[in-house]
Chain length 255, copies 6
């Protein structure tokens, strides 16, 4: 990076290509919820609430295993123009389903459902304000809410035994190619201009959980794919650090 | 009230029967939305966002009049136990419809739709945390968001002419009879115990827009009705003052 | 009322301001239904059918208490122009939900669900012809159908014990302010012109169950509210008398 | 029929095998509706309302032809046990759709849509009480309501020209084989016991519009089919006479 | 038939009025499905798959009887112009419901549900290509798939006892009157021109299960009805032969 | 790969890890559809039909650009146990939406919508039999159907100008890690056992359109990701060859 000035000037908010937006993770944002986190990636604000209930859906009963699922939604005016509510339309759209499923899969990849026992964790990720990267912010925040809810279940004795329920942490970030330059953590203005958009979900130990790359405008070659994967690895390493910091520095857990 | 100690002891949070919970009205809580207000009545937090669009629904075209409508919803974990999302259930429940209609009617009562011209204002009231009185907080906050959105439309020139669009302000509060005592602004723990529950919507000039009293446990007599109406009148007078204060002291309007 | 001539001339059908429309309550209008009543308030005709079934919904099982609920609907051509069926639209509208909930609450206010035991009463109120006041006619007729169905359950032995199931009767009437004059029991032509519209549900002993006043055109002051409440009290006293008369004079109960 | 005594004894209500139940056709049963008929076949009561509107659905515009359609529905307690409302279930069931389509086809078979001009007739057939043969009663009553609505459209001048809109009348009746005996116009108790059930729609001039025979319990042979068709022909001849009588003797048309 | 030349010239594909289109019945078309048949009536191709599951729906439990049901659907481009998917529209249309019910009734007419025991057979009939007569092809093919699934259940021992489950076979064909001539097995081009359209379902022993005749353009008289019934009887006799041939000549049953 | 014998034995069907299942692409499988292809990847059979219509959805009108979209669905018994129809459930599931969106995006990546002009192409991909890899087979087959439909539009003159509409071809394949070994084109039995599952969409010129990797059981590292990407590159190169062969050797295009 001998010409940082040039690179920097490529981003609307003055960031370097490999720089995250300001990230904040606020735990216990609500009184309700066994874990509740407001996560912000720049202007993107997602409220992630974990609900812990004893018991599992019927088809899991007697399995000795727990269940973790997620639901993602956007408030109607999270975006610059208002969208109709899915409750009013009477059906959940394809994008919403797809992201809900992605969040659920990402969290389940790091949960030991046998150690969880027959308990259910539902993660509600509601986007209050959307400025790109809502699904990656949701995964990153939801894991922290999940960690709080698991700790709650252990203190309550609903989770039995001493095996760790969380095998690892998980975080996610978007990467893309904008004007030919691979960049990290795209806000909305970059997202719409990106030739390629990729969401990468990575564990705390650096393993991939999901790699979802889409050529929005132009198919990409192997070299570009490698550059994006490297940016994502560095970005999620930083997000992992911020998740651990949030869990370490917050005040005493809810009684 | 010669025995304030006794009366005060009747409320779980130590308030006097005629005392509101701490109320905060935070304007411009989001970047999007021509008006966006986070209103808090104690533990109840409602995000009220006004969306201004030029034009009106088909059935109003050519009338020269604008349209104001509202949609109310609750996040799944706004309450102490999680509720299923209405989008997932595929239908909006009766309570949601009823409150959405109430908010819309309350706001339309103080809007001069001819002065608004053929413009549409949609008020989204999403309950982030529910501790009783969500509909009254929503009306009180939505009016402030509406005022900001009307001002935005006037600055933009979308609202033409100099006639005032807002004929008055509007605010709402709950009253009820708990253990035989008429009380103002009920939190959830009082709401479930109340013999009677009443929501009263009042204009800034003290006129009634809606009076909705329901005998939850025992029918009530005329004397109790009068006592509740008086509490409501005093409560909405104070809420009107807080609305005006919020509009007066906030920083410069969004450009 | 020193100038009755003037007042009377204000109403399209020649009634005095404090006069009900002709009310008829016809019991056993259908062969099916443990209680079935055709109630008419002038041109408004509502068929109210009570269905008694032993057992309660799952969430009430083992409580020792019964369940009373109501569903309100309009035939498509109950009104002067045809409306689409809600079954065809695939969703029940807000107004329908709201009125169904109101009828259910009004009836439950006078039922002792413990004395009812684990039995369910569903009240179907289908508007055959609508000329204003459909919800108040529905409540008034539904209570009579309910009384017949409770008697049926007692004769069958499905309701056990000797405690009265009905603590009181309940009736409802609309009041409003039309051209500045408070009037009772508004037909459609007055309803659309009313500045304020109020539905009041009152028990046989004169206590309020619901008070729902809405400023349709102009907010109303306390004096107007009081005038409307007095008209409603007198109107429901008369409706109570007609309900008792219907129950007293009808032929022998269905075997 | 050499043994009428035996045959008669086979029917629960003492009718001869070839006898209709008492049929009444009451015109102008509602104030609204360009035609409104209460038709009764014994205990079966169907309210048939014709709504006339100028104009046609978009896909018919400019064709010079009108449109006739029908919707059939049952009130929840039309039957001996209550059924859930289709509006509440959120979907119209297969049986409802099928009967609505049958009524529409039957009426269109006798309407000259070119003579009708670009006008729409919607026939709502709501079953108030069901005791077998609801679809055949609906067709028979709907045609009378249709005739009234067509006359209304002609008086209003909405239907132009002097060509007759109705080419013929149409009526329908059920026939079946019960305990080996072909019988006409089955009430519910016979319907559930019938080996074969057939609905036959016939014009005033004796031509078939629909023949729908279903082996409910045992397939039927050609001889049985012929016997049923003869009963149906005689039954619809009588229904045609009653339709003409209703149209001839009713008071002056609605202005 | 003294003038075959004239008769033949009446049909677009050169068939005689009493001639079926080429019919093929291909068993075991899929790897899955206890019976799977591709049935072709000329250009009409329907995939009929029978799913055998042990157990019955809740309302049949303990009855000792099995359950047979069918679902019919069309692929979006089975026809010459594309139709919207019913899954996307969110509701199953009236025609689809009606045909599903017809297929189910036709099959149940020849099944001894007591001999079947508490087992369920679902017949899925998906139209891959539609050229008239899709419902009659579906019934004809579904019966063969059903026969294979019943045999599978017997080999597996899920169907107990030695009583025959199938009392008879069943097949169906369309007949109609085109340009005044009664014709058998109408392709789409004839179907749209037919004055009358009739679907007839007949057992292997020649008894009627369903007779559904509809006057599409002009009501029909008794003589025309008789001519159509005779064509249908001959056509279904031939289809019965082809069903038996398919069952007789196919390779060994699936293990 | 020094021990091919060992590797080969790892696959249930005896294939080498880098070997595709037998692939067949049958064009013009239906009479309807401007392109219709039955594509088979081993036991997976998908019917891909392209519907060409002139004109575009409202929101694209006047843009000069065309629109390409896809809908994916499964027949109820495509799998070893029957699934409920989405039309009957009244909603399209998350997985269906997600795959429909993937197919649409993959095809749009190689279409020049300006060269297409204001025409719409809908690709229906219906899975007749599912044995793993249904989405990748669908993309591979849909592109061939698309090519036929584009050629049809050009012959008809609906697509104007000489610019190529298809900038490239596109094909897709699944890869995964089963028992630690990266393998190509997974059938169902491998799919359920895979630690990681990846779908890769690649253009004819070897560029990536979509890379979707999911850790089904264990997160994967960069080395494993690279191994899977190489298998996918080789597999799609072979699929591209088969697509070109199908287009080259088929009989003359539909007139």
């Amino acid at each position: 990076m001998t010409t940082p000035t040039t690179d920097t000037s490529a981003r609307s908010d003055g960031r370097r290509p490999d720089e995250l937006r300001p990230v904040t993770i606020t735990r216990r944002w609500l009184d309700a919820g066994e874990g509740s986190v407001l996560v912000e990636f720049g202007g993107t604000k997602v409220l992630c609430v974990a609900s812990f209930t004893e018991g599992v859906p019927r088809w899991k009963k007697g399995s000795g295993q727990g269940w973790v699922t997620a639901e993602y939604a956007m408030l109607p005016r999270a975006t610059s123009t208002r969208s109709d509510r899915e409750s009013v339309k009477g059906r959940v759209g394809g994008r919403t389903h797809e992201i809900s499923r992605l969040i659920g899969r990402s969290l389940r990849a790091v949960v030991d459902v046998s150690a969880l026992g027959e308990n259910t964790l539902v993660l509600d990720c509601d986007v209050l304000q959307a400025d790109g990267g809502t699904r990656t912010a949701a995964i990153t925040g939801a894991w922290v809410a999940l960690a709080d809810a698991v700790a709650w279940g252990q203190r309550r004795g609903a989770i039995k035994g001493s095996r760790p329920v969380l095998r690892d942490s998980v975080a996610a970030v978007s990467v893309g190619i904008v004007d030919g330059v691979p960049v990290l953590d795209l806000p909305y203005v970059e997202d719409v201009r990106a030739e390629t958009d990729m969401n990468v979900v990575v564990t705390g130990s650096g393993l991939f959980v999901e790699v979802q790359g889409t050529a929005e405008q132009a198919p990409f070659d192997r070299r570009e794919l490698d550059a994006m994967l490297e940016l994502a690895a560095a970005g999620t390493t930083e997000l992992t650090r911020l998740q651990q910091l949030a869990l370490a520095t917050d005040p005493a857990p809810r009684p």
